[in-house]
């Protein structure tokens, strides 16, 4: 393999590429989906190939192939350079990569106890089947259970001398119940939406989710929502559970702090960002309680790794400090526009995709509140849990989120269940009105497996650490 990869780099240089890297990736995925106790999908995916990224005539080119042999490596290198040279015809500025320091030669594997691929399929199916049965109720039309495991082994070599091998193994699981009546349907999920919680951890992570301990409650709550009162339309105190805070951070802080979006690279598709270059170190993003970082070094996060796909070491980056916007997630190319260096956030989903700036584990730092004290301190408001819908404008300002369930908060106590809860706002105003964040005991690292970006779309896993938080003067119940 090493020899073929070096031949690819050599070929690109012979064709006058000023820079080249080659990534070979081998991926294994096992996914299981049960619906109403029956296996609806159970599949194994294996996939491998390589991609060559070059700079020639000052422009990027990228070509990839699943056929890893000498002829194809040379053809692919040739195509990458040819593409770069054709790009140069429509180029205002030559690509500049920020310096990276000394070339790195490393091997890395994430740590875990039990390889999820070694656990017998029968055991996994039994766990999901047991959880499904416990969700069943007369009004539960659909009970679903999900589990998946992945292993990705990759090697990156560059013309600068970097040679990094990484293996990341992870898994996750979740359950959901959907109750249906003639006019409406309601879903409850555990531990969160998007088919569960995921991390770069072993099967011990799935065991710790204790799916069967929560399944009966999930089924009951889905049915109870059919008869719950609708969330009233008003402006009030909003308390979000940890998983919904994670989604709020994802959409309203994670994406807008990706420097490629800020520079317009994604403008035709996903959009740009309100956090323009003039706002760095010069913009009040939120209240003094709001501290947000992107930390790829946390053990077990879905956005954790040792090196990004440009060979930059994983880092912990400050994005928002005491409410002030202080930094972006950057690649080598985008960092050079600010005379900075990359902070290691370039990831591609696979060998056939170029690396893009992706969230790592973007975390809202814990505050000092205890959850029970937070409820007791709230005279009036709504407590919303578990994301159901999400939408935000193309600069990441105007947002609307729906959750699966809410509870009224009156005189410091949780009250009646509310259905169809929705809240909306504008990002900086919303975070400026954050007046309480719960502490470490309520803080949890969530793995979101379905973050999409780029064309062709790259769906990647990211992490978000969050604790329940309170926001003042929020519009809730809008839309109906």
């Amino acid at each position: 393999m090493e020899e073929l990869m070096r031949e690819g780099l050599k070929k690109a240089q012979e064709l006058n590429a000023s820079y080249a890297d080659i990534r070979w990736i081998d991926t294994k995925i096992e996914s299981i989906q049960l619906k109403n106790g029956q296996v609806e999908g159970l599949q194994s995916i294996t996939d491998s190939g390589f991609g060559i990224r070059v700079i020639a005539n000052g422009s990027w080119g990228f070509a990839s192939s699943c056929h890893f042999d000498r002829d194809e490596v040379l053809r692919t290198a040739d195509m990458a350079v040819r593409i770069a040279k054709s790009s140069a015809r429509v180029q205002k500025h030559e690509i500049v990569m920020a310096p990276q320091g000394k070339p790195v030669e490393k091997k890395y594997e994430n740590k875990y106890k039990h390889d999820p691929f070694e656990v017998p399929l029968e055991d996994k199916l039994a766990l999901l089947s047991d959880a499904s049965k416990l969700m069943e109720r007369s009004d539960v039309k659909l009970s679903a259970a999900f589990m998946s495991a992945f292993s990705q082994h990759k090697r990156l070599m560059t013309t600068e001398g970097t040679d990094i091998e990484q293996t990341l193994v992870g898994c996750g699981a979740g359950i959901e119940a959907t109750a249906v009546s003639s006019g409406e349907s309601h879903k409850r999920s555990y531990p969160c939406s998007f088919h569960g919680n995921y991390g770069t951890r072993g099967y011990e992570f799935i065991k710790k989710l204790n799916l069967t301990d929560h399944a009966e409650r999930v089924g009951k709550e889905a049915v109870a929502l059919l008869d719950a009162d609708p969330c009233p339309k008003k402006t009030t105190n909003l308390i979000l559970d940890s998983s919904q805070v994670a989604l709020q951070v994802h959409e309203s802080c994670g994406h807008p702090t990706e420097l490629d979006r800020v520079l317009g690279y994604e403008s035709s598709f996903a959009g740009e960002s309100f956090l323009t270059l003039d706002k760095r170190n010069n913009f009040k993003y939120g209240s003094e309680f709001v501290n947000i970082n992107a930390d790829a070094t946390i053990a077990g996060g879905l956005g954790s790794f040792a090196f990004d796909d440009e060979g930059t070491r994983a880092q912990k980056i400050r994005l928002v400090s005491e409410g002030n916007f202080v930094g972006y997630m950057m690649s080598r190319e985008t960092a050079s526009t600010l005379n900075l260096t990359s902070n290691g956030t370039m990831r591609a989903t696979n060998w056939n995709r170029i690396p893009l700036i992706r969230m790592t584990n973007v975390n809202l730092q814990p505050g000092s509140w205890n959850f029970d004290e937070l409820i007791e301190d709230t005279k009036s408001g709504v407590y919303m849990l578990t994301n159901r819908s999400w939408s935000i404008d193309d600069k990441r300002l105007n947002f609307q989120f729906g959750t699966e369930v809410a509870y009224e908060v009156e005189a410091g106590e949780l009250g009646r269940m509310l259905k169809n809860p929705v809240y909306s706002g504008m990002t900086p105003q919303f975070w400026a009105d954050c007046d309480a964040i719960c502490g470490k005991d309520d803080w949890q690292l969530w793995g979101v497996p379905n973050c999409g970006k780029g064309e062709p779309m790259q769906i990647i896993g990211v992490g978000h650490g969050a604790a329940p938080a309170r926001f003042k003067k929020v519009k809730v119940g809008v839309g109906k």
């Binding site: 294996t46 990839s64 089947s129 409406e184 959009g271 600069k395």
Partner: protein, 462 residues
């Protein structure tokens, strides 16, 4: 462009035939093998320069094994027979460990009577003009479009230009054997100019020769000129006119909320218990037709079943939904040819959707409006409640105020929260031209339209 020389029709079908033989040797009840090869070339541009430019060569082989009523699936991207044979055995093991899927009846049998002749298939799906279109040609076209639209150097273009060649082969142990080469060309472009000006244009076809850069450029410039200095407008319910792009996106979301037999059987489709009842305005008909070349024709689905035209909504009445072999078998029906690659938790989906055209020009819709909004495009929509077809999202790339029958200015983007069925019930006018817009897994060909009521629930700063 260059195609993968390793695999043509003969070698593909021979390879898959060997896979089937291995299944027979292993006494497998039923076996299906689907092979898709792809050569894809994507050029992305932003700030009027190419910033990402990619080529991809890949294969995907999906093996599905049936053991009684148990199914196992394995995907791999290899053409090596020993690995494919290993995948058959792995799928067999996966099938055996699970409980029975009581809904499953059988993989489909070969249905030659309903498949178009081979030559017709190629004429529908494959254009050599697209297959040979080079990265250099695409770079030149992007340059030409930039020169056409940014004459004052005040505007910037961003977008993506894709050309793709695929070859799809499907065989199963019940006699299905189909093969289809396809090409695809698509371009989406967003323009930005001074004082908040913006616009959008899109092109999709199997034949790249149909791309008319001058027309795309004119559309971008017109919308960009009109959309300067957008002003905020209070959020409330307005009569609203939708350009083709917005109608296409709304239709895709409507489809996802109920046009699948799976959604109906699971009880969350808006079509549940409504068949043969009026659910929207009689001005509206929606159908799926895999053989209609005005969209992106595809003659069979990913089980090799011939595509049937399915009337989904006819003159306002709920008429039908689409089926694959699993959902059809459960109800004792024949698949309509709408399976996606297995295993497919989404269920069958329409992938070549159509909405009827009407008699109105968009200028007549504007003239007919005392106070209303014109929407170019929808951004980041998401269903709140599929059964009520309640959707939220933003407008983008050109939102305009109409007063006394004229566009009087651009407005800042607005959030909507609206039931799509209720919206279609207030349909006032349907456009007299159709345009194909790409969705995540197909296309829809739609007109512009005007509705009486569309609920805006917020506004943003741009």
């Amino acid at each position: 462009m260059m195609e993968d020389p390793r695999i043509d029709k003969t070698t593909t079908l021979e390879l898959l035939g060997n896979v089937l033989s291995h299944g027979v040797m292993n006494k497998i009840d039923q076996l299906e093998a689907v092979l898709i090869t792809t050569d894809k070339y994507l050029t992305r541009f932003a700030k009027s320069q190419i910033h990402q430019h990619m080529a991809e060569r890949n294969v995907d082989v999906a093996i599905r094994v049936v053991a009684g009523k148990k199914l196992g699936s394995v995907h791999l991207n290899s053409l090596e027979l020993p690995r494919l044979e290993g995948a058959v055995e792995q799928a067999q093991k996966i099938a055996r460990v699970q409980g029975e899927n009581l809904d499953f009846v059988s993989l489909p049998s070969y249905d030659a009577d309903r498949l178009p002749p081979v030559a017709d298939i190629e004429n529908l799906t494959y254009y050599n003009s697209t297959a040979v279109h080079s990265p250099e040609a695409k770079s030149n076209e992007i340059k030409e479009l930039i020169d056409l639209t940014t004459t004052k150097k005040e505007e910037d273009l961003a977008g993506a230009y894709l050309t793709e060649i695929s070859r799809v082969a499907i065989v199963n142990s019940l006699g299905v054997e189909v093969y289809m080469p396809t090409t695809l060309a698509s371009l989406n472009v967003n323009i930005t100019g001074p004082n908040g000006a913006t616009g959008y244009a899109e092109f999709t076809s199997r034949d790249v020769k149909e791309l008319n850069l001058k027309a795309v450029g004119k559309e971008l410039k017109t919308r960009c000129r009109l959309s300067r200095n957008p002003k905020p407008l209070p959020a409330k319910t307005y009569p609203t006119i939708f350009e083709h792009y917005a109608v296409g996106e709304l239709l895709i979301y409507l489809s996802g909320m109920g046009f699948s037999a799976k959604a109906v059987s699971e009880g969350w489709s808006f079509m549940c218990d409504k068949f043969n009842e009026k659910i929207v305005s009689p001005k509206i008909s929606i159908w799926d037709d895999g053989l209609d070349a005005r969209g992106l024709p595809i003659p069979f689905d990913f089980e090799g079943m011939p595509k049937q035209r399915v009337d989904l909504i006819e003159k306002g009445e709920a008429k039908g939904v689409v089926y694959d072999s699993l959902t059809a078998g459960r109800e004792g029906k024949i698949s309509t040819g709408h399976a996606l690659p297995a295993p497919n938790p989404m269920g069958p989906q329409p992938v070549n959707l159509f909405m009827n055209i009407g008699e109105s020009d968009i200028s007549e819709m504007i003239e007919d409006t005392k106070e209303g909004i014109l929407v170019t495009r929808i951004h980041y929509a998401n269903p709140l409640d599929p059964k009520q077809t309640l959707l939220t999202g933003m407008t983008r790339d050109g939102t305009f105020l109409i007063e006394k029958g004229e566009i009087t200015g651009a407005i800042k983007n607005m959030r909507f929260t609206q039931s799509l069925v209720e919206m279609l019930n207030t349909t006032k006018m349907v456009g007299n031209t159709s345009k194909s817009t790409r969705s995540w897994y197909g296309t829809c060909s739609v007109p512009c339209m005007k509705v009486g009521k569309f609920k805006f629930t917020g506004t943003t700063e741009h």
